[in-house]
């Protein structure tokens, strides 16, 4: 039994009333109230009022990632250090820390990227002070033995091993190594195998890493959900007030412009379909200039499920089953990476040529106005849909905070997306999608 059209009209009215958050381009993309304060030592605390009765997300954002691994032979330390942060303090040795988190019933973990490291906990709102006590203690007073350090190196190797049962890990490592010459983005966040294997011998470097980067002026606290802002400020002052600021500034090499195309072919010892990455150096994150937002729109125009490439290679020719492309926001110029899995191994050249031809077309043909509008709509709705619980909201805000230090960045960058024009698309494509700026790596199954 179906309802008639009139009934749908009635329902539609109800939806308008219910719609508390919209993805309209006229509204700020980040709809929740933000409070912010800074301690004397430079630690900044950002709170987000979000309707999640009884639950709070607590993120510590460290503006340090594998980008900070500037010394040769020491790749992977930002990630390694993320592991060491669970190795205890005098007040809360490892077991005591684990027991305390366990009793809270908290979901607590961490992750590391090229640019930042996040320590995150989601728990009952009434546990907030305990969380702050535990988190501040390990940021101020971490204390691990050389034996703990060396034991944890085994877990790092284990993580490397599990990642590298997938050929995409090898592909990414190869692309980075080829595309960059001096910038730390030359290596992936997990680090190089030889550096990981040498980690057990570099306890002193790990201590120095902590001393350099785990400082209040290099961190943010992001709290989302059910909490009292006044109480948060009191607790932050109480628990983080004695944290001493640092002054270390890493010297991060500037990657020189690439002047010719770079290519490589690599093999995988186990069954696999061919994989290919086509990469271009892309603009660093900015909430002020149009290049980076234009590149993000370009990635949708080229590789979304409505794109001509997707229609041709995936639906019509059926020669690929993975096709994606884009650049992840980075503080320094990242790679715009096209990742492709080719289902017919004799079609590698065809796929490559088809993708490159479509990229060339973006330089010369203006994008259809409706398609551009649809793309911007998709980006806004997609973003809005992800803000559905305290954890993702805190992570989203943390992401933008580590990039610029300003929580308003999230709104500014989506305003920029709305401003991207067809001319911007063409100009950005012409600027970055040059053959001399390109790196191509193809991975195939090793011949028997």
């Amino acid at each position: 039994m179906r309802r008639g059209p009139n009934q749908w009209c009635l329902l539609a009215l109800a939806w308008l009333v219910l719609s508390g958050v919209t993805a309209s381009s006229q509204e700020r993309i980040f709809p929740f109230p933000i409070t912010e304060f800074e301690l004397d030592n430079g630690l900044r605390v950002v709170g987000v009022d979000y309707d999640s009765p009884g639950i709070v997300a607590y993120y510590t954002v460290v503006r340090t990632g594998s980008r900070n691994e500037v010394e040769p032979g020491f790749s992977g330390y930002a990630h390694f250090f993320e592991h060491m942060m669970f190795r205890g303090t005098e007040k809360y040795p490892t077991d005591a820390y684990t027991d305390a988190v366990k009793r809270l019933g908290a979901d607590s973990n961490a992750f590391t990227t090229d640019d930042w490291t996040a320590y995150h906990t989601v728990a009952s709102a009434d546990a907030l002070e305990t969380i702050i006590d535990l988190e501040s203690d390990r940021f101020l007073n971490l204390d691990y033995s050389i034996d703990d350090y060396r034991t944890e190196a085994g877990a790092i190797l284990g993580e490397y091993n599990l990642n590298f049962s997938n050929p995409v890990a090898l592909l990414r490592e190869s692309v980075r190594d080829l595309a960059y010459t001096t910038h730390p983005y030359k290596h992936t966040t997990i680090g190089l195998l030889e550096d990981i294997q040498a980690m057990p011998e570099h306890y002193d470097y790990s201590v120095e890493f902590y001393d350099r980067y785990y400082r209040p002026e290099n961190c943010f606290i992001v709290v989302v959900g059910d909490f009292d802002p006044t109480e948060l400020e009191r607790l932050a002052e109480q628990y983080y007030g004695l944290w001493e600021p640092g002054d270390f500034e890493p010297t991060i090499s500037v990657e020189p412009p690439q002047t010719e195309e770079r290519t490589a072919e690599i093999t995988w010892p186990n069954p696999t379909l061919p994989w290919m990455t086509i990469a271009y150096h892309a603009p660093a994150f900015s909430d002020e200039t149009i290049d980076m937002p234009a590149m993000d729109v370009l990635s949708q125009l080229l590789f979304s499920q409505t794109s001509p490439l997707f229609q041709q290679l995936y639906l019509s020719d059926q020669v690929v089953d993975v096709l994606s492309g884009g650049a992840v926001d980075h503080r320094d110029p990242p790679l715009f990476e096209v990742l492709i899995r080719i289902t017919k191994p004799d079609q590698i050249d065809y796929v490559r040529d088809t993708v490159l031809a479509e990229i060339e077309r973006m330089k010369t043909e203006p994008v259809d106005a409706q398609l551009l509008a649809d793309t911007k709509s998709a980006m806004r709705y997609s973003f809005a849909s992800g803000l559905n619980s305290p954890g993702p909201i805190a992570e989203t805000l943390g992401h933008y905070l580590q990039l610029t230090g300003d929580p308003e960045t999230v709104n500014r960058v989506y305003e920029l997306y709305d401003q991207v024009t067809a001319d911007d698309i063409q100009a950005t494509a012409a600027r970055y999608f040059a053959e001399t700026n390109r790196t191509v790596v193809v991975l195939t199954q090793e011949a028997e």
């Binding site: 009793r103 019933g105 085994g154 049962s165």
Partner: protein, 510 residues
């Protein structure tokens, strides 16, 4: 970021609730209001639809393994009568709406996510995909290749951890309807025709087999409308009950080695369990399992003893039901219920030279749990953890809806409420008694993905204790326990050792 539509292939879950089967009678299209599940969140602009069908890989005909998965994929990655797949994706694109399917052993779920601004046109498409998918030849060819590649390239060559889990499933459930992967088998997929898919859809996507769930800021009467639409448009089922035989009884430690060029050794261990969330003993076992190996936390002994103290690998966990991690979270995806479950231990890749030690240590930890149980203090701490942690299972409306539907499937109250109320009634004696009733370390299926299978087998069968190499000095306590681990004997059933080259895995059901 985009409205990527996809089908998820899941490796586990429980089975069809009797309540659902009981509704299979036929010509009473008045149904499901009693079955519909609602999770309203009036202030949310997001809406989730979950439509779960009592159809899974156990319904694949012999020689057509993968038919259920492929049919689901024709919904998740296909078109409607009015819209080709290409047109459909173009329509969803500006809304960033998604329609996906999740296919498991016993149920298959169609999941829609949309902003309230677009609910009406979205729902029209969502409904038509379910009741009258397009069954286009080109979509069929592409989707079948996708599944086949998932086995031939994905499982065999791109993910040793998933390979280990699926190898355990095949070994554990040999001869049982659960034996094939949820994606099917290489030969089964090759044999399927588009006519097979259309016929399967007509037989399995019926009004008697459906459970509807809606969550979020949907309008009044929406659930009833969805139910009425589906009941009106879907055919009646045949009313036949789906029988499920008992899994075979394991005899000692049965070893399946999958040989490939692996950078490290991945190990999965398990045995069938006779309980599910519908049983009282599930809840005390939940406490015991959390103590032994809570997923991706340092709460479990396996994680602390193997990774924390010894640095053997990245992680070691245990489970009392099928567990698929939901994205980057630490929580299981909902809507993978099964009538039969299994206990398992997941040892993430270990350097080859330490793998035999790791295997022995994990099994010994299980044996210690069975023999010694939990101490009162361990019980109290673990229970407190689980009661609080359970709240975090359902942080989004979509997940809450999924769990509510699973509870309906099992015939229980809302799972999260069940955890809280039942755990608060438990004693440590209850937990240890349930452990003794259901867990054991003597009869296990073990799947080992490694590069030198014969060498590993010989190490396990020899009288030589396994070695372990450390990066650093370790305490006398650890070294002392290591000796106990090395001396722990595995009752390996030499008649049940098999070495299979990875290229031979999942070709057909053995």
């Amino acid at each position: 970021m985009m409205s990527r539509r996809h089908t998820a292939w899941l490796g586990g879950g429980l089975g069809l609730a009797l309540a659902m089967v009981a509704c299979s009678a036929a010509d009473t299209p008045a149904l499901p209001s009693a079955q519909g599940v609602a999770q309203p969140a009036p202030n949310s602009p997001l809406i989730t639809l979950r439509v779960m069908f009592d159809t899974g890989s156990i319904d694949d005909p012999a020689g057509r393994e993968g038919l259920n998965a492929l049919t689901a994929l024709m919904i998740g990655q296909g078109g409607t009568a009015d819209l080709s797949y290409q047109e459909l994706t173009a329509t969803l694109y500006p809304w960033a709406a998604s329609i996906s399917t999740q296919a498991d052993k016993e149920v298959t779920t169609v999941i829609g996510e949309v902003h309230v601004d677009h609910l009406k046109p979205f729902y029209d498409i969502f409904r038509e995909l379910i009741v009258a998918p397009r069954f286009d030849e080109a979509d069929f060819a592409r989707n079948r290749d996708f599944l086949s590649n998932g086995i031939v390239a994905g499982l065999r060559g791109n993910d040793d951890e998933e390979l280990g889990k699926q190898a355990l499933n095949a070994w554990l459930y040999e001869g049982h309807p659960y034996a094939a992967t949820e994606m099917g088998t290489e030969e089964g997929l090759a044999a399927i025709t588009l006519d097979d898919v259309a016929a399967y859809h007509g037989a399995r996507y019926t009004r008697d087999n459906v459970m509807v769930g809606v969550g979020g800021g949907y309008p009044d009467g929406f659930l009833a409308r969805v139910e009425a639409d589906l009941v009106a448009a879907l055919p009646a089922g045949d009313g036949a009950a789906r029988t499920l035989p008992e899994p075979r009884h394991l005899q000692g430690h049965e070893l399946l080695f999958v040989e490939k060029d692996a950078i490290a050794t991945a190990i999965s261990i398990g045995f069938p369990l006779e309980i599910t969330r519908a049983d009282d003993d599930f809840y005390p076992l939940m406490v015991a399992n959390s103590y032994l190996g809570e997923h991706r936390t340092f709460n479990g002994r396996l994680m602390n003893q193997m990774r924390g103290l010894r640095g053997l690998n990245y992680g070691d966990y245990s489970y009392i039901e099928q567990f698929i991690q939901d994205g980057g979270s630490t929580f299981p995806v909902p809507n993978i219920p099964r009538r039969q479950q299994f206990f398992s231990i997941w040892i993430r890749p270990v350097p080859h030279h330490n793998a035999a030690f790791a295997l022995r240590q994990a099994i010994r930890e299980l044996a210690l749990l069975v023999d010694e149980g939990l101490l009162e203090e361990d019980f109290e701490a673990t229970r407190e953890y689980l009661v609080n942690y359970a709240n975090l299972y359902v942080q989004t409306t979509s997940r809450r809806l999924g769990y509510a539907m699973d509870s309906r499937f099992y015939g229980t109250d809302f799972f999260i409420d069940e955890i809280r109320s039942r755990l608060m009634e438990l004693t440590v004696e209850d937990v240890n008694a349930a452990v003794r009733r259901h867990l054991q370390a003597d009869h296990l299926a073990v799947a080992i993905v490694t590069s030198d299978a014969e060498g590993f087998r010989d190490v396990l069968l020899s009288d030589e204790p396994p070695s372990i190499t450390y990066n650093t000095e370790v305490s006398d306590d650890i070294l002392g326990e290591d000796e106990a681990i090395k001396g722990y004997e595995l009752p390996i059933n030499t008649e049940r050792i098999r070495i299979v080259p990875v290229e031979e895995m999942f070709k057909r059901v053995s």
